[in-house]
């Protein structure tokens, strides 16, 4: 890794999270660089989602710092920001392991809710917009245009007016990514985006993630599907039992004996790990 003058986009330093006596994450440090896809992998129960919840403000970490630095140099200490401010000010968006769409609202409405803060600013404290005055109309048109753009990008433009809950599972996953992108993030955090997708949908997801990267938004993802991770990640961080056991390029990580030991349940620390059947490295492409 060449020495870089600019600070990384996301820098996690000695992050710790404990629930009572259980240490879920222990002194974890890693960085996610601008313009890259960083993957967080590890066996089940390694603490990946806990790390995600700390970064996105759903948990307050027990110790450590999480620093997000924008391209213009403004920096945010995420562990100190309130949950909704992380999305709004620090411009960090996330999806969920089990899809959390607004099921009773249409796909388009889902993406409109994502642009809530931009639209609220145009309503003039609500009063002007209720009376039909002010610049709200133009703002809403722009929001619909932006939403249509993302619906098109995830191939759901023809289903814009369908309720989100009625879409097939793969489409719901894509819609959730589109919704996160409508908040205009600098870092998109995806919690197992390929879970439950078939082979073709996984291919489409890869293409979508690379397109998102091309728009200038960096990506941090948790993934079990090594077909996704190995092919598109620039940088992989491997967790096991809340600790980092490896960190580097896909090639380096795949060759790391500690990673293989963690996944295969062999070696010095693998006594209570996943059985071999869960080993995803075998199919790594």
């Amino acid at each position: 890794m060449p020495p870089n003058a600019a600070p990384p986009l996301l820098s996690v330093e000695r992050l710790g999270m404990r629930f009572g006596g259980l240490v879920a994450v222990d002194a974890l440090s890693f960085a996610a660089r601008r313009g890259e896809i960083t993957a967080l992998i590890g066996p089940n129960g390694a603490g990946k989602t806990t790390v995600f919840n700390c970064i996105t403000g759903f948990y307050r970490p027990s110790s450590g710092t999480i620093l997000l630095t924008h391209a213009d140099g403004s920096a945010y200490r995420l562990e100190r920001l309130a949950g909704h401010r992380i999305a709004r000010r620090a411009r960090l968006a996330r999806t969920f392991q089990n899809v959390r769409l607004f099921a009773g609202m249409t796909a388009l409405e889902n993406l409109m809710v994502a642009q809530h803060n931009t639209l609220m600013a145009a309503t003039g404290f609500g009063v002007l917009a209720v009376l039909g005055l002010g610049r709200y109309r133009a703002a809403e048109r722009a929001a619909v245009a932006r939403a249509s753009e993302w619906l098109d990008a995830v191939g759901l433009l023809s289903r814009a007016d369908d309720p989100a809950g009625a879409l097939p599972y793969g489409a719901q996953r894509r819609l959730e990514i589109a919704r996160a992108m409508c908040t205009g993030p600098v870092l998109l955090c995806l919690d197992e985006p390929a879970a439950g997708l078939n082979l073709r949908e996984t291919e489409e997801l890869n293409a979508l993630l690379l397109r998102i990267l091309a728009t200038g938004c960096s990506i941090l993802l948790i993934e079990h599907d090594m077909g996704v991770v190995m092919r598109i990640s620039d940088h992989i961080v491997v967790l096991d039992h809340g600790r980092k056991i490896s960190d580097g390029t896909p090639e380096a990580v795949r060759a790391d004996p500690r990673v293989i030991a963690a996944y295969l349940g062999e070696g010095d620390e693998g006594a209570e790990d996943e059985p071999v059947a869960a080993c995803p490295l075998a199919g790594a492409g």
Partner: protein, 421 residues
Amino acid sequence: MRTALGDAFISALVALGLFAPMVGLLTAPTDKGLVLIPRPMPVAAIVAAVFAARLAFLAWRARRPAARPGLRALAERATAATKYLGPGVLAFALVLPLLAGRYYIDLGILVLTYVMLGWGLNIVVGLAGLLDLGYAAFYAVGAYSYALIAQDFGLGFWTCLPLAGLFAALWGVMLGFPVLRLRGDYLAIVTLAFGEIIRVVITNWVSLTGGPNGISGIPRPTLFGLRFGASAGPGTFAGFFHLAPSPSQRVIFLYYVILGLALLTNWVTLRLRRLPLGRAWEALREDEVACRSLGINITTTKLTAFAMGAMFGGFAGAFFATRQGFISPESFTFMESATVLSIVVLGGLGSQLGVVLAALVMIGGSELSRSFADYRMLVFGLGLVAMMVLRPRGLVAGRTPTVTLGQPREIPAELLAEGRG
């Protein structure tokens, strides 16, 4: 055939269990005190009738298996008809005072008051998905604000109306701050307690509110300064328009005031639904965690819902005070909150038309059936059971999208979340 007989036998057994104590035992006063007289014959007749009726019903159902689709088609046609129902009801409401007598106009005012309360509560319960069991508190705050301001400062109805709404909204926010971190059942219980606290404070703060005696002599509303009275002197409505003074003029005026207030509530709600705030309310009902991940401030969004709902409740309260001319804590009991909430739930959460229909059925229906008051609760209970079986999501379930690229299509109620507070 055997299963049908068994089924009918079980029904008869249930009937026996129910009617043996209810019909089979008669208490009669004698000089030795009350004695129980057993009446086996009527019980036997009822049980036999239930047995026969159940058998007949099963036979009828076995011969007509295609009855369900017909019912569904009927429901679909009813849904299509709701498009014309709204304007129809509005037109009816506009012309009612010109056609009907005094009794029906008074009834219309009562129904419209509940429609307005229902629409106000619909913002909190139907859109934002926050279960509020103490809505009568805001109704009371509005009514007492108007009564006290009007009496102590000599201000008129139209000046006090916004103030009453403002006070109620303020109380909505004050309740909201400590309460909004609670969810579901806990929120419901705290709002219930809040409703009771307001009522108990009003009852016991005798020096300010008059306690259980209430406040009387509350000023009546005026039409641009024109009073409604028994004389045709200068400054009265009758005198200005050279009409014969009549008490029905004031009633008709009050009717149009509440109609206007209710329509204002409806208009603001419908506008807000299409604005980011209203969409955020509905998104909150659907999934609070997802809202937070999108940068929506949940606390302020919930507070605005509470404040909005409370404000319209306050308006309705001020109208109630000016219409009655007298208010006391008895008008703002838990029964009031429960009635308004059942109007919203019966109508279908979030549905504006549903609230109107439910208010018509519940308030209008129960007023009109005063003549057989003994059976009113029985009919009401049966109606609720029928609703639960036939339309569990309310009279007008489903939701219209607020923004579309193509033709708006109704979203089926099964996909909607009810909100967990």
